[in-house]
């Protein structure tokens, strides 16, 4: 009896310690990055163009490069992912096809990003001849975040009560009318969070794009311009650039990346909280 009680105490202590360790790790990482970036991050760093090969000025063109990649990848992946999610939950049923497709999405999720990079280089950059460009990079990212969109669409559609659909059918609506006006409307916030999570992933991805977007620091002028997104910029600052301010700038860039992730997560939480409150 006594030993069981002591075991219980010890076990709970260990559980607390491990969880607090994880919190500590997170705080240490963010704290370290943010502390080291004090002094470099200011409005000029965020809102001005790099000068003198990145030694002076800010990282505006990198931020814009990242935003371009996000825009392309989300625009391409969202309709396909949402469509796929709708098909799998509303149309496919227990069809063997749905299992195969679901497995395909899961498989895609497991493929390492560097493989996407190789694929994107060989297919978009070389075979289709798009060169090192935001289009190539954006398409690679679209392939990567597609799975996320499918999965969240599936989950949020599954959460829509069957009674909504039945009510709609009972009023004589067709399948697509039911899906588009009833199901999708209820599932929209969930789907939106999936898209936002995809944005977060696209913003931070490096391995997949280092082989497809090039590394040109200027503002993009067309879909076929090369850019240097923030994540790649951070990598190059950490290992390739040799100017004296490189490491400080790397910390500044890292802080902005973490900030971006924070914003993404916060918006997901806000949407989900509103959503669950609305359902109640």
């Amino acid at each position: 009896m006594i030993s069981a009680h002591i075991n219980e105490k010890i076990a709970k202590l260990v559980l607390w310690i491990s969880s607090l360790t994880i919190l500590a790790i997170l705080l240490a990482i963010i704290g370290f990055v943010v502390m080291r970036s004090i002094g470099i991050i200011n409005l000029e760093f965020i809102f001005s163009m790099p000068r003198a090969g990145g030694r002076e000025g800010g990282i505006l063109s990198m931020i814009i490069g990242t935003l371009c990649l996000i825009a392309i990848s989300t625009t391409v992946a969202s309709p396909i992912g949402i469509g796929g999610g709708i098909y799998l939950t509303e149309y496919a049923g227990e069809h063997p096809l749905s299992k195969i497709i679901t497995f395909g999405a899961e498989w895609l999720a497991g493929v390492p990003s560097i493989i996407f990079g190789l694929f994107g280089f060989a297919f978009f950059v070389v075979f289709l001849g798009w060169g090192f460009s935001i289009l190539s990079g954006g398409m690679v990212l679209a392939c990567m975040i597609l799975n996320e969109t499918i999965r969240t669409t599936q989950e949020s559609i599954k959460a829509v009560p069957a009674s909504y659909r039945e009510a709609s059918y009972a009023l004589g609506a067709t399948k697509w009318q039911t899906v588009s006006r009833v199901v999708l409307k209820s599932a929209a916030p969930g789907i939106l969070t999936g898209i936002i999570l995809g944005i977060g992933r696209a913003a931070g991805e490096t391995a997949a794009i280092m082989l497809t977007v090039g590394s040109f620091m200027a503002l993009p002028t067309s879909l076929f311009s090369s850019v240097r997104p923030m994540s790649l910029h951070l990598y190059l600052l950490a290992i390739a650039e040799v100017h004296p301010g490189a490491i400080a700038r790397a910390f500044g860039t890292a802080t902005l990346l973490v900030l971006m992730v924070l914003i993404v997560n916060l918006s997901v939480h806000t949407i989900m909280r509103r959503y669950t409150r609305a359902l109640r």
Binding site: A4, H5, N7, E8, A11, K12, V14, L15, W16, S18, S19, T21, I22, L23, I25, L26, F32, V33, P79, G84, I86, Y87, Y91, S98, I100, I101, G104, A105, L108, G110, V111, P112, I114, I115, F116, L118, F119, F121, F123, F127, L146, I150, K175, W176, A203, G204, T206, A207, S231, L232, L234, Y235, A238, I239, I247, A254, L257, V261, N265, H269
Partner: protein, 280 residues
Amino acid sequence: MLKEWIIEKSLIVAAMVSFVIIAFIIMIVFRAGVPLIAEVGVGNFLFGMDWRPEREIFGIFPMIIGTLLVALFSMLISVPLGILTAIFLAEVAPEIMRNILRPAIELLAGIPSVVYGFVGLMVLVPFIRTHLGPPGFSILAGSIVLAIMALPTIITISEDAIKAVPKSYKEASFAVGATHWQTIKNIILPAARSGILAGVVLGSGRAIGETMAAIMVLGNLPVIPTSVLGPIRTLTANVAMEMAYAPHGPHRQALFATGVVLFIVVSILVVISNRLRRGQ
């Protein structure tokens, strides 16, 4: 009705896209890589000890070992920590801790891998070098960084698996006088085992597929290591660091071939985790 038909068909097409991407990846990456494997010989390529691209000697055995070792060591760190935290979240944590930990873990999952690599490079590598001995760039450093990166995957999937254990098991165990920890250890964890294993497999998949952090902290030496303080090169790092220089001829093919091996390894893990999760 034609409209409905068109919509359904286009949804099918959208759903097929992820599978088509997989097919394209296989087609393109394999087409670029397999001929070299055939030319060098599967045995020579997989089990060759030397990687000297400038002499056109391509053996990736040290990198296969390196990849597996780093994944193994990172799992040694992250599996206990991750499972304990998952238990804490699912069973023990007071509401307030849950509300802190969940977003923390999401944030941990969202931080880009290049940031982890950068922090590892700036903090862990010097720390290991000064306190445990040079060179600092080591399996240990890589394992710790990859362990932190794999934690969110392991925690989230394990927590889901633990929560999926029927409440009635827990009640039955309590009813015969088991303590909470006895119930967790003897009833809940065994019942959640396959789900937790799936999380571990996916987590190791993430560790195997990680690129940026691996390049930045592992030292990239393609030899079989003799100590955890020694450097190592992973398959992903091999592709990324040399492909970034987009060389030509057999060297490029050999990097695609490395990608082929990586793809196969990861696909096996995806299949295993898929089986495990379906088993639950």
